[in-house]
């Protein structure tokens, strides 16, 4: 890639940002462009000083695994939100994919397949996620109903389907290789952390380097301009809904490998956490702005806060209160940093 051609002024597309580590001033400027990473650094130092258990390789691996579920979905959500849409059904899709996968691998048809029985189950789980994403996207495209409403309906409906399908029962994975995968390591890092990191890099490349990525910004920034320019906005949005559906299903599967089981209540409130992480990372609810580096920071921020407060034995409900307050505080700070000063219009 021709990275040498320097952009004029800081570009939102983060392709120049990788070089920001030379010297203090440029790292500082980089942090100001991604306030969430400044925040990540602060909470990291804070917990390292406050508790003995935080600063250890084992704990960092923990954090990565704990956040991988949220993180995977947040990758897809970033695309959908840059498009100016939103997907509230991801939590329900997590439960559906997990239940399908765990159930299907136990079907008698696949009994003689050995460990290979996991394969059709995972394909079915991921397929369900992509399909539901496609359905969300199709409805948004064809009816023009706001994505918030469409996916709100999908969130309720899919969750209902999960209860119908499971008969309100939890499923347990009979094939132990499935649960072993969730606990396995590869080159010294938990496999699930690898999955998360690899997909993060992949989606980052898609968003910052490909035509689809550029179109994603254009559609969210000025939909009419995108239509005028001949971008097929409907199918484009549908693809992004399918991507977030895929990631929600993948998150459901990785989550169920961690537990060796699925419950119909799996993934409840995940949509809220994912949106929180994405917004913390600088993605705008109105679309047009955001990037994966920010989203990764947002995911880590939530992961570190939850982990750190847990280690400090802050009661769980206070953790929610603190996270809520931090969300608003960070976004308020962001607004202050990006204000036009005294010239701004008074409300």
């Amino acid at each position: 890639m021709a990275e040498s051609a320097a952009g004029q002024g800081p570009s939102k597309l983060p392709r120049e940002l990788g070089k920001g580590s030379s010297g203090w001033s440029s790292s500082l400027r980089w942090l100001l462009g991604h306030p969430i990473w400044a925040f990540v650094v602060i909470v990291f130092i804070f917990f390292s000083l406050m508790t003995d258990d935080f600063f250890s390789l084992g704990n960092f691996q923990n954090i990565l695994v704990q956040t991988s579920t949220l993180g995977l979905i947040a990758l897809g959500m970033t695309l959908v939100m840059i498009n100016g849409n939103i997907d509230l059904s991801v939590g329900a899709v997590v439960a559906l994919a997990a239940s399908l996968t765990v159930d299907i691998m136990g079907w008698p048809v696949f009994e003689s397949w050995g460990n290979l029985q996991i394969l059709p189950a995972v394909v079915a789980g991921l397929g369900a996620g992509v399909l539901l994403g496609a359905l969300n996207g199709l409805i948004v495209w064809k009816t023009g109903v706001d994505a918030f409403i469409v996916t709100l309906g999908a969130m309720l409906g899919v969750r209902g389907l999960v209860f119908v399908y499971t008969g309100e029962q939890s499923f347990f994975a009979m094939n132990f290789a499935y649960a072993d995968f969730g606990a396995s390591s590869f080159l010294g890092l938990p496999t699930l952390a690898w999955v998360f990191l690899v997909f993060t890099v992949l989606v980052h490349i898609v968003l910052s380097r490909t035509v689809h990525g550029a179109n994603t910004y254009a559609v969210g920034d000025n939909r009419e301009a995108a239509v005028n320019a001949g971008i097929r906005v409907g199918p484009h949005m549908m693809i992004n809904f399918m991507i977030v559906g895929f990631f929600a299903a993948l998150a459901g599967i990785t989550l169920s490998t961690q537990m060796g089981a699925s419950t119909p209540n799996l993934g409840r409130d995940y949509e809220l956490w994912v949106i929180t992480a994405t917004v913390l990372g600088g993605t705008k609810l109105t679309g047009g702005a955001g990037n994966i580096i920010g989203t990764f920071g947002g995911v880590l921020a939530i992961g570190i806060l939850r982990n750190g407060m847990n280690l400090m034995q802050v009661p769980a409900f206070y953790v929610l209160v603190i996270l809520g307050a931090i969300l608003i505080a960070v976004l308020f700070l962001d607004k202050q940093l990006n204000r036009q000063g005294e010239e701004g219009l008074r409300l």
């Binding site: 890639m1 021709a2 051609a5 320097a6 952009g7 004029q8 002024g9 570009s11 939102k12 597309l13 380097r209 490909t210 035509v211 689809h212 990525g213 550029a214 179109n215 910004y217 254009a218 920034d221 000025n222 009419e224 301009a225 995108a226 239509v227 005028n228 320019a229 001949g230 971008i231 097929r232 047009g288 702005a289 000063g341 005294e342 010239e343 701004g344 219009l345 008074r346």
Partner: protein, 504 residues
């Protein structure tokens, strides 16, 4: 000349929308190497016709012939590949993307695997920008550019393809004079290359400068094609609105009342600096300047929407500080904002409720809104401003632009202001209703209001103002009386050129 094969011909184009026949059998042709102006009032069907041409709408009847080949264009990309390029009237740009990405939006050059080929992109865009004398690079973010420069980005799209026909839809609305020269150079160059140009504009002087032929539409029908060299403004106007217009200048009476507003040294950051002027009762003061010169921002400051960083505002000879629109209204200031549909009206509400909106809190009978009082106010201003609406129950969104603007003006008159600020009073209003609004503004001044009119249209400013204040980049460059102002010195004043060094 008539034996030249047209680059593009439209035959009997009909386009209907539910309940409207937007285009009714329109014929239009562009020859290679000619500039063909398309004129008509708002709603005459110009934009619809161009959208048909650009593949955004499919015509119900009729056909499009490109070099005598019947062609169907299903979307804007197909139109581009057929050599038809549309430069949009509203800026059709994604602010967060770079200049290069915007210029090639929808067809970014790809290398393998769908990656954007930045090298080719930068090369091609760099060449185009150089040709247009732009001082920004391909990687600049569009959101950081001024409106005029954004318009240049939009124009740059015309040069991305080997076009047969390039349509410019009101390209000069926000260009400075220097950029207008570049644009006309581009058009002439395209023309020399044998490209057919369709030029849409409301500005007669531009049409007569640049075009070879003029086609006029009215109410979706074809009214005729004139050769520019053989016609004049009056004939074109006749075709457009079916009658002649009175373009007379305002006769200043020179007798005004007390000072209503005195502004001294007013500044607001970099938006405008050290602005001083005053307005008397019965006087219309026109603010003229380019988009971004700070005129609207002054109005917003007077109305309490922005906080001044320096300077003083005196109303009726006493110092005031205005911290909010509510205080401005209480002090007798009203602002008819720039954008009627976004800032001035609640389109989904009826006429009466829109007019009484700022004062509905005072019109109560017990805990309820007093219906009778509201209707009485509406009736009064309907008669006074001659608002044409079926009943007070009609939704404002269904009225014509001129009547909508009267509703906004009526709304603020109902607040009994002493100072009325009108920002772009006739934007998006057709020629006929324009004259009516102009007369209304004169009428209001005569009845004792102090009026500030902000406008980007020179004929409008010249018609309504008793005094004209010219602004350039946030500063007042000159103040004219109605007697001394003319088009030349006004253009010089708003371009930042002082009288002596002005080029012809």
């Amino acid at each position: 000349m008539s034996d030249v094969k047209p680059a593009l011909r439209l035959e009997g184009i009909v386009k209907t929308f539910p309940g409207v026949r937007a285009l009714d059998g329109v014929d239009f042709e562009v020859r290679p190497g000619e500039v063909h102006a398309l004129m008509g009032e708002n709603g005459a069907g110009k934009s619809t016709l161009m959208k048909v041409l650009a593949g955004m709408y499919q015509p119900n009847e009729g056909q499009i012939l490109i070099e005598d080949r019947p062609t169907i264009m299903a979307n804007p990309i197909e139109a581009k590949h057929n050599g038809v390029i549309l430069i949009h009237q509203e800026l059709s740009l994604a602010e967060q993307l770079t200049v290069a990405e915007n210029i090639f939006l929808g067809e970014l050059p790809r290398s393998r695997l769908g990656f954007v080929d930045w090298k080719i992109l930068d090369d091609r865009v760099g060449t185009i920008l150089q040709k247009l004398n732009c001082d920004f690079g391909p990687r600049t973010k569009v959101g950081k550019l001024s409106i005029a420069k954004k318009q240049m980005v939009e124009i740059a799209r015309a040069l991305t393809h080997e076009g047969r026909v390039v349509v410019f839809d009101e390209p000069t609305a926000s260009l400075t004079d220097a950029e207008k020269v570049v644009l006309f150079d581009v058009i002439n160059e395209l023309k020399a290359d044998g490209v057919g140009i369709v030029y849409i504009s409301h500005r007669m002087e531009e049409i007569f400068t640049i075009s070879d032929r003029i086609t006029v539409l009215r109410d979706g029908t074809y009214r005729g094609t004139l050769t520019t060299a053989e016609t004049d403004e009056d004939e074109v106007t006749q075709l457009m609105i079916g009658r002649s217009l009175d373009y007379s200048r305002n006769e200043s009476s020179g007798e005004f009342g007390d000072l209503v507003l005195e502004v001294a040294g007013l500044s607001c950051g970099k938006l405008f600096e050290d602005v001083s002027f005053n307005v008397r009762a019965g006087e219309v003061v026109g603010f003229y300047g380019l988009v971004g010169a700070g005129r609207t921002e002054i109005a917003e400051t007077l109305f309490g929407l922005r906080e001044p960083t320096a300077g003083s505002i005196r109303l009726n000879s006493s110092d005031v500080s205005i911290a909010s629109p509510a205080e401005a209204i209480a002090n007798g200031i009203s602002l008819v904002p720039e954008s009627r549909k976004e800032q001035g009206l609640v389109l989904g509400m009826n006429c009466r409720d829109n007019i009484t909106l700022p004062q509905v809190g005072d019109m109560t009978a017990g805990p309820f809104v007093s219906n009778g009082a509201e209707v009485a106010i509406y009736d009064m201003y309907r008669d006074r401003l001659d608002i044409k609406a079926p009943t007070w129950r009609s939704l404002v969104g269904n009225l014509s632009g001129g009547n909508q603007q009267k509703i906004v003006i009526g709304k603020w008159l109902a607040m009994k202001p002493r100072l009325l600020i009108v920002d772009e009073p006739t934007r998006g209003i057709d020629v006929g209703s324009k004259a009516e609004i102009h007369n209304l503004i004169r009428e209001l001044a005569r009845s004792g209001y102090a009026v500030i009119v902000i406008s980007s249209e020179m004929p409008e400013i010249l018609r309504v103002s008793d005094r004209v204040i010219a602004m350039y980049q946030g500063r007042i460059t000159r103040e004219f009386t109605a007697a001394e102002v003319n088009e030349d010195n006004l253009v010089q004043a708003i371009s930042g050129i002082s009288g002596d060094e002005a080029a012809a």
